[in-house]
Every structure is written in C-alpha cells, then in structure tokens.
C-alpha cells in the first residue's frame, strides 16, 4: 500500500490558485522531496496532507485513508515537523514529550520521556525549555516528537533552514535512518543539495504546478541535452541547473 497518494489536488485562496492539479505518490520507505521557489505551493500541499486545510478539489490519501473524510485518523498515521519552532514555551522537553505522547494515545512516564530524550542525544536538556536549545537540538526534538508514535509517513517542512553545516549533515543522517526503519518521508526544501543527497525521487513544484517527478539522477540524465537547461549550466549539467531551467520556463509560460 502506498504511504501517500495525492490525486488532482487543487488549493485555491481568494484571488489565487496556490496548487494546480497536482498528482504524486510516496511509496513505503521512500524519501520524496518537493522542491520549488518561495510561493510554489509546497506549504499549501503539506497543509492539506496534514489536515490543516481542506483541498479545493482532488483527494489526498494516507495509507488509503482519505484526509477529507477521516482527518483525525489520517493525523494518527503521520508525524509532522513544521518550519517554525512551535512548541509551548512554558513546558520542559520531558513535559512536551508527555503531552505529544498523550495526543497519540501513548502514555509516557517522566522516566520514559527522559529515556527517549537520552536516545536522541537530548538527555542533559530534559528539564530545559525549547528556547534554551540550539538550532540543531531543536530540530532533533522536533523529529523526536514527530516520531513518537512511529508514524508511517513523516512530513518535514524545510527542516534544515537556519542550521549550520554540521547540524544540517547530522540531521540528514537522522532522516536517512528513517528510511532504514521503513518509514516514508515527504520533505519540502529550498536546498537542491539536500534534496539530491536524501531523496529517492524529487518533485519540482513551480507556481503550483508539479513540472517534473523523477529520481535525482534521472532528472539530470533526462534534461542533460535539453536546450532550455544549457544557458544555466557551467560545465556538466547539475540538478540545480535543471531546477533553475524548469522554474524559468514555468515563469515565462505563466
């Protein structure tokens, strides 16, 4: 069974269509990245999958469950990491784990929560608040909370924005371990390097249109000889050249 099926998805706001007729799927154990410039519709697409926004048309299914029909059941299958640090500032890390555990029906004692923090390398911070963590520690906490209930699908919204190179590489390693555990990941990112390093497949979203879906290698191979890509290439064609060319073409046709 597919972890995620997005079919004919449209998201409209007053005076604007943010997502146009988007189709893609994410298989079991697959890491799928959605990349695109600002305003491409990545966050709107995620918001529908997370059940935070109703689709204007189309369907989204997680493990075959329609998010418009059973949003609570869908949310029980997914783990979410949002862009901003969005945890209660009054609670300690232990209390946050207990809260989010409870929201997924998992009763965690303080000792259980500390053990999980320890395993995530956050043991010494168990009584700290989120504001006392570094960027890398915050992201580890976010991933830990997103994973508390062992979800089938992880949704990561630009998880490494603002991290230093070392913390970013460390986080990539953590995402890689999710695949090893058979978990599917849908990642949105601005970083072509990140998408290329982590993803089994990449979807390029421009102005709400999904203009290409392939593996990173296949995207480069397919467009290597394309005349639209040549102006962007400095030597051998890279994934970034392909991305820039497809974005530019869509901007012109829009």
């Amino acid at each position: 069974m597919r972890a995620l099926e997005v079919d004919s998805l449209e998201v409209r706001y007053p005076g604007k269509v943010a997502v146009h007729n988007v189709h893609f799927t994410v298989g079991p154990g697959e890491i799928f990245s959605l990349i695109g410039p600002n305003g491409a519709g990545k966050t709107s697409t995620l918001a529908v999958i997370e059940g935070l926004r109703r689709p204007s048309s189309g369907t989204v299914r997680v493990l075959g469950i329609d998010v418009s029909v059973e949003p609570r059941r869908v949310r029980a299958q997914i783990g979410v990491q949002l862009q901003a640090q969005s945890f209660q500032p009054e609670l300690t890390l232990t209390e946050l784990l207990q809260l989010y555990g409870g929201l997924y029906g998992i009763r965690l004692t303080a000792a259980d929560a500390r053990a999980r923090l320890e395993a995530a390398g956050l043991g010494p911070q168990y009584s700290n608040r989120v504001r006392q963590l570094s960027g890398g520690q915050s992201q580890r906490l976010s991933l830990l909370i997103a994973n508390l209930h062992a979800p089938a699908l992880l949704l990561l919204d630009e998880p490494t924005t603002g991290l230093d190179p070392q913390a970013r590489r460390e986080f990539w390693h953590l995402i890689g371990t999710q695949r090893a555990q058979g978990r599917s990941v849908l990642l949105t990112t601005h970083s072509i390097e990140e998408a290329a390093a982590l993803s089994d497949r990449i979807g390029i979203l421009v102005r709400g249109h999904l203009v290409a879906v392939e593996s990173p290698d296949e995207l480069v191979r397919r467009y290597a000889q394309d005349s639209r890509v040549m102006p962007f290439a400095h030597g051998a064609v890279t994934l970034e050249d392909v991305f820039l060319a497809l974005c530019a073409q869509r901007e012109v046709s829009a």
């Binding site: 069974m1 972890a3 079991p28 997370e50 059940g51 935070l52 493990l63 075959g64 469950i65 609570r72 059941r73 949310r75 029980a76 299958q77 997914i78 979410v80 949002l82 901003a84 640090q85 969005s86 945890f87 209660q88 500032p89 009054e90 609670l91 209390e95 207990q98 809260l99 989010y100 555990g101 409870g102 929201l103 997924y104 029906g105 209930h149 979800p151 089938a152 058979g182």
Partner: protein, 257 residues
Amino acid sequence: MQARTAPSAGVTFWALVRAERIAYGRGARTLVWTALVPVCILVLGELEVPQGLRHTSAPTLEIVALAITTGAFALGLFGYGSTLANHRDRGIFQRLRCAPVPSWQLLGARSVVQLLGVVVQSLAVFMVARVAYGVAPGGKGALLASVVIVASGIAALAIGQVVVALSRSASTATAVSRLLLVVLFLLEGVFVATQSWPVWLQQVADGTPVRLSLNLLTDALVHQRWDPSDLRDLSGLLVWTAILGYIGVTRFRWESE
C-alpha cells in the same frame, strides 16, 4: 504498513488539560493577574468601593466582591486572552492541530484550566479576607457566590476569546485588553463613582457583564440572598456569555495573519 487508530477523545483531552495546567502555573503574567491584582484590591481597595455598593453592616465583603470580579475579568483578558494570542502567533495551535485531536479540545482544555484558575483565585481572596479582615461569607452566601464566580469566570473567558478572535496579532490583542481593563475599572467605579454618571450611562453600565457580575456577587455575599432582579442579572450575564462565546469561537483563526 498497518493503519493506527486515532486515540480516544478522553485520552487527548486529559493530555491537553495536564499540559495546560503546567503551563498555567508557569505563566508569570497569569500568576500576577491571578494573585496580585485581587489581593492588592483587597488590601488597598477599601476606600475605592463604589458608593452604590457600600453596605454599612459588612463593608469588607463588598471589597471581596470587587477583588474577585476584577481578578476574574483581568484573568480573562490577560491570563487567557493574551496567552491564547501569543501561542497563536508562535504557531503552537497549528502544531497541535497536526495531532489527532478534535479542534474544540484545544480551546476547551485551556478554558477548563483557566476557569479552575478563577475558582482558585477566588478561594485565595476569601482566605486573605478571612485572615486580614476576619470576615467570611455565610453558608448560603458562599453557595450563591460560587455560582456567580463560575458564571463570571466563563463570561470573562468569553470576552478574552472575542478579543483574540477579532485581533490579528498578539500585540493587537494585548493593546485592546489594556484598553478594556481601563473600561473594567471605570465600570466598577474604581476611578469615579458611577453614581456621578448621567442616569442613561449608569443604566448602560449596569447592563455590562462586569457590572452584572459585581452586583450579583455583592448581593450574594452581603445580603446572602437573591431577589428577582438578581435572577434577571444572572440571565443577562448568561446571554452576554452566549453571544460573546459564539462570536469568539466562530471568528477565531488558528493562525495569525
């Protein structure tokens, strides 16, 4: 891959109430409004009791009513409203909504904890009044007062909810709350005795949730009984609560603009 079932509503509600209770205890602003304001009124406010509410046989019970009413409404505006707006600006509700939790529980759990805060605050005021003034309401008065305190607490939360629902950001909500706090003190006659106001303005003031609560609580504590006018006041308070609560919930946005 096996699909998980969503947890029961009771489990998620309890988890939220537990977290809200901890957060409430650690919120410095909430604690200030919960403890300091009513106690200050109790200790310093004897000279400021509105003339129309003064009763010769037991003046301190009027101060107790004033302290409790002020504390409850200040808590609704700052303890509940401002914290709600701040958490909305930080995206805390959006993160919680990604979990399998019915949306109503996010506000419901918070309201339950805040209402318990109003009750605890009122008990604290009664205790200080007993120690400082040696006065305590009679049994019947205490029973009537408990009804008023719960009704006033819900009305205060409804006002805080409306302020947040109609404000685009936490800074706007806080500014509006400060303004409303001044209005609250005016309506209680703290700055200027309401008897010096034009009659039509007194009548308008008497119909506001704050005055309805204060009159009801004063009658409960001082006279230890309610007459038909008190039942009319209680009905008025409930109507206000229903209207404000409806607007506050239906116009509420989970993310700030």
